[in-house]
Symmetry: C2
Subunit: 461 residues, 2 copies
C-alpha cells in the first residue's frame, strides 16, 4: 500500500489521503448487520480529475476501489471486503447548476438529498426520490434508490438524465444527455444507475426535478388488519387514482413512530397517503380514495393540508428505521426489500407478517406498497447465533416467496452482498450476461469487487 | 448459404424458410430513403425454440442475422446490409396473457400495437405507446419507441417490465421481472430495449398497461407562428399541468392532414392536445392550459369530449407520415428526430423551420413537443443527387444544433444506419463502452451488424 499512497500523493494533497484508524473504521460498515471490513486507505477527491487519477493508480497497482457516500447503504455496498482504497465523495458536494427553465439540476455525487431539497425549495422545486436516510445522490443513483413518492414520480433511473462517470481505467464518459427522452445508442444511463460502484464512479449527476405542487393533501387511514390495508391500496391502484404517496406501516412500527417522533397515531395497521394535483381534481381523488378504503374496512381517516402537520407525518415515516435503531441499542438492523406484482402484494405482506410473528425477534413491516414493495425490518442480536440464523432464514423465506411470484429480491436497496445469494435464482442465465458486462467494463475487477456479481479472480469474501 | 439452409431445415419446416425473390425484396427496405439490401434467407420462427435454433445455426456458420417486425423502421434498422438471415417475427404474433389485476400483458414480439389495443379494449385497458406506424411491439422495444402519450405515460423503456431474449449464442434469458420496480442486478431490460437487434432477439415481452381514462378531453389550438405554439407548450410544462398529449403540426403538415384525412382544420401552426383525469381536475387543467395558450397568442381553440371526433383527430395525426408518402409518389421520406431540453425547444423548432424553408423540398415539421422531440419530415427525389445532398446536409444541421444544446440526435426512431454518423459526436468516449458491451454480448458481430456501433471485423457497409 505504500507504493499506492506514494502514487496518490503525487496529485492529491496530504489531507485528501487518510490511513487514520478512526477514518478507516468509519468506512468499514453500513447501517446494517453486515460484517465490517477496513479499507487500507480512504481518499477524498475534490474533482473528476482527482477521481480519474485515483482510478489510474488503482488500475496500475490492481487495488480494489470502493466508492462511499455517507454510508447509509443497507446491503453492505460500501464495505470494502477486499480492503484497498475507499473513495469518500464528501468533498464533492456542490450543487453545480439549477436550470429552472429545464427543470434540471446538476450536482456532484456527495450532495445529500436534504441538502439538495433545501436549495431547490428557494426555486419552488423539489427532487422527488426520498429514501429514509439522508443519502447522497451518488449513492442513491448507485443503488437505483426510490422512496415514498416513487408511485407517482419514479425511481432514480427515471430521474437521472445524465451522469459523468469515471471508468475503471480512469477514462471519463457521459451516460446520457439533457433531453427528456432518447433512442440514441445503448442505455448506459440505466446500466450505470444501480451498478453499485462496480462499473464506474459517478462524478456528476443531472437530475430531473419537479415544481412543488400547489395543492397537497396528506392523509392517514387505519384498518383492522394488515390485509385490509394492503387490499385497499391495490384497489386504489386499480382505480387509476394518481396517488403521490401510499405507505404502509404495521402496528409495531406505529408504536416505534409514536415513541421516537412524539406522535399519538392510533396503533393499528396504517396507510400514510398523499395526493398532488389541482385543487378540484385533488378533492375528487381524495374522496374516491376514502370511499375505496372504507369499502376495505378503514376505521379511521384523517386528512391534512397544513404544511407543518404534513411534514411531521413524513418525517416520522422517514425516521422509522432510526426509531428502531434508537430503541434497540446494541442490536443490528436487517431488512427485507422484496417487490412483487400488485396482485401478489396482499398475500406477500400477510405471509411476511405471519413469519415475522413466529420469529419472536423485534421488528415490523412497512413499505412503499404503491410499488408492490415492502420491508420487514428486524433488530437482531449479532452475538446470538441462533437469532442470526433465524433472521437469515426469515429473509430467505420472504425473498423466495416473492421470486416464486414473479417479484424481485430487492425493490430499492440494491444487491450489495446481502442479496447476492439470490441473484442466480432471480436472474437465471441473465446473471452470466451481467458478469460478461462487468468483465468487459472492469476487466481486472477492481471496482467494488464482491458486490452484485462474483468474478472468479480470487475474491476473498 | 446452402449449408445454412440445410442446417435450418433440420428443425424448421419448409414454409418457415424462404429464398423467394419477392419475400427477400419485402425484407430489403424500411419506410424511408435508406439504400436497400437483400437478405439471403428469410425465416419465420414460430417459437422461442425456433429462434434459439436459428441463432445457433447463425453462430455456427457466422451468418449475419437481422430481426424484422413489419418493416416500419425509419433509419434502416431492418435492412440486412451484410445479407444473411432475416428473422421475420410475423408468425409469433400471439397475445399470450392479459393479467388485468396486475395491469400487465404478455405478448409475442410480432404483435402490433393496434392488434394489442383492440384486444385490451375489451378489458377497459390500453397500451400507451403509439408511434405513427402500426409497428410490432418487438420492433417498438428494439428502438425504444415512443409517441403522442409519452409526455404522460413514458417511452417503451418505461413500460416493458420484462423480456425473453435469445442471445447471440442461442441462450435464452429474461431481462426483468414482474414487479413495478427493482434494484436487483444490472438493468438488462433497459440495455436490451433500444438495442435494435444488435444484442439479442426478443421473443416475449411483458408490458405495463393502463386503464382507459374515464374522462378524456382533446383540443386543437392554432397560433400565428410556430414559435408562439412551441412557447405555449413550454409554459404548459413549466406550469406542471399533467398533460396527456401535446403534438405540434406546422402549416404544411396541416394541409397534408386535411387532404389525406378529409378534415378542414385551419391551416396554421397547430397544437393537438389531450387531457386525462377525473372530471373536475380535468376541467381545471383544460381551462388553465387554454389561458396559458391565449397568453401566447392562441387565436383558435376547440375542445372535444366526443369519442369519434377525438379518434378522428388522433388518426389524422398518426397518418401524417402516410399523408406525405401518399402525396409524393416516387419520392422517399427522410426524418429528423432530435430531442432537446425544454428551454431549447422553441429555438430549435424555429431554426429547423427556417432551414426547411430554405431547402425548397416538400416537407413539414411535427412532433411530440411535450418531450422536446420534433421531426422535420422531407420528401426527397432519390434520383436528384443535388436534392439528396441538400437533404442530408439539412438533417446534419438540425442534429448538430440539438447536440450543441445538450440534446440527442434521435428522440425515438433509433440509430440504425441513419443516425450512426452522429454517435461519436453525441456519446464521445461512451461510444467505446457501447462497443465493448456489443463485443462482450455478440463477439462475432452476427446480430444486426452495421447498426448503432461499428465493429472492425470487415463490415461491408
Amino acid at each position: 500500500m505504500k507504493q499506492v499512497i506514494q502514487a496518490l500523493s503525487t496529485k492529491l494533497s496530504n489531507d485528501q489521503i487518510s490511513t487514520n484508524d478512526t477514518v478507516k473504521e468509519l468506512h468499514s460498515k453500513d447501517e446494517t448487520y453486515h460484517q465490517t471490513s477496513l479499507p487500507d486507505i480512504v481518499v477524498f477527491p475534490k474533482s473528476t480529475e482527482d477521481v480519474s487519477y485515483i482510478m489510474e493508480v488503482a488500475q496500475k497497482f490492481q487495488t480494489p476501489v470502493t466508492p462511499f457516500g455517507v454510508g447509509t447503504s443497507l446491503e453492505g455496498h460500501v464495505i470494502p471486503y477486499q480492503n484497498g482504497i475507499t473513495i469518500d465523495f464528501s468533498l464533492m458536494n456542490q450543487i453545480l447548476e439549477i436550470k429552472e427553465s429545464d427543470l434540471l439540476v446538476k450536482v456532484q455525487p456527495g450532495v445529500t438529498r436534504e441538502q439538495l431539497n433545501k436549495e431547490l425549495k428557494k426555486y419552488g422545486l423539489f427532487f422527488t426520490v426520498d429514501p429514509g436516510a439522508n443519502a447522497t445522490l451518488g449513492g442513491m443513483a448507485a443503488t437505483n434508490a426510490s422512496g415514498t413518492t416513487t408511485v407517482k414520480y419514479g425511481v432514480m433511473r427515471d430521474l437521472v438524465r445524465d451522469m459523468e462517470v469515471v471508468l475503471a481505467d480512469g477514462n471519463v464518459i457521459h451516460t446520457g444527455n439533457l433531453a427528456a427522452k432518447s433512442s440514441s445508442g445503448y442505455h448506459l444511463n440505466g446500466l450505470f444507475i444501480g451498478s453499485e460502484g462496480t462499473l464506474g464512479c459517478f462524478t456528476e449527476l443531472t437530475l430531473q426535478v419537479y415544481g412543488i405542487p400547489e395543492h397537497i393533501v396528506a392523509a392517514r387511514a387505519t384498518f383492522p388488519t394488515l390485509t385490509n390495508a394492503i387490499e385497499a391500496v391495490t384497489s386504489i391502484l386499480h382505480a387509476g387514482i394518481p396517488i403521490a404517496r401510499v405507505e404502509f406501516v404495521d402496528e409495531a412500527s406505529v408504536k416505534q413512530i409514536n415513541k421516537f417522533s412524539e406522535s399519538d397515531y392510533p396503533v393499528k395497521p396504517t396507510l400514510f397517503l398523499e395526493f398532488h394535483g389541482n385543487a378540484s381534481g385533488l378533492q375528487e381523488d381524495l374522496a374516491f380514495s376514502k370511499e375505496i378504503m372504507q369499502d376495505h374496512g378503514c376505521d379511521y381517516f384523517n386528512s391534512e393540508t397544513d404544511n407543518a402537520a404534513r411534514n411531521h407525518l413524513w418525517d416520522a415515516r422517514h425516521n422509522l428505521a432510526y426509531a428502531y435503531i434508537h430503541d434497540y441499542v446494541g442490536k443490528k438492523m436487517m431488512l427485507t426489500d422484496v417487490a412483487v406484482p400488485i396482485s401478489e402484494l396482499a398475500n406477500s405482506v400477510t405471509y411476511a407478517g405471519e413469519e415475522l410473528e413466529k420469529l419472536n425477534i423485534p421488528g415490523g413491516i412497512l413499505g412503499h406498497v404503491g410499488d408492490g414493495n415492502f420491508h420487514s425490518l428486524i433488530m437482531i442480536d449479532m452475538e446470538n447465533e441462533e437469532e442470526v440464523k433465524k433472521a437469515k432464514q426469515f429473509n430467505e423465506k420472504v425473498v423466495r416467496y416473492a421470486l416464486e411470484r414473479g417479484g424481485t429480491c430487492t425493490g430499492e436497496h440494491g444487491v450489495g452482498v446481502g442479496k447476492k445469494p439470490y441473484q442466480r435464482e432471480e436472474h437465471g442465465a441473465a446473471l452470466d450476461v451481467m458478469t460478461n458486462i462487468k468483465k468487459a467494463l472492469d476487466p481486472n475487477n477492481i471496482l467494488n469487487p464482491d458486490k452484485i456479481v462474483d468474478i472468479d479472480n480470487g475474491g476473498n469474501l
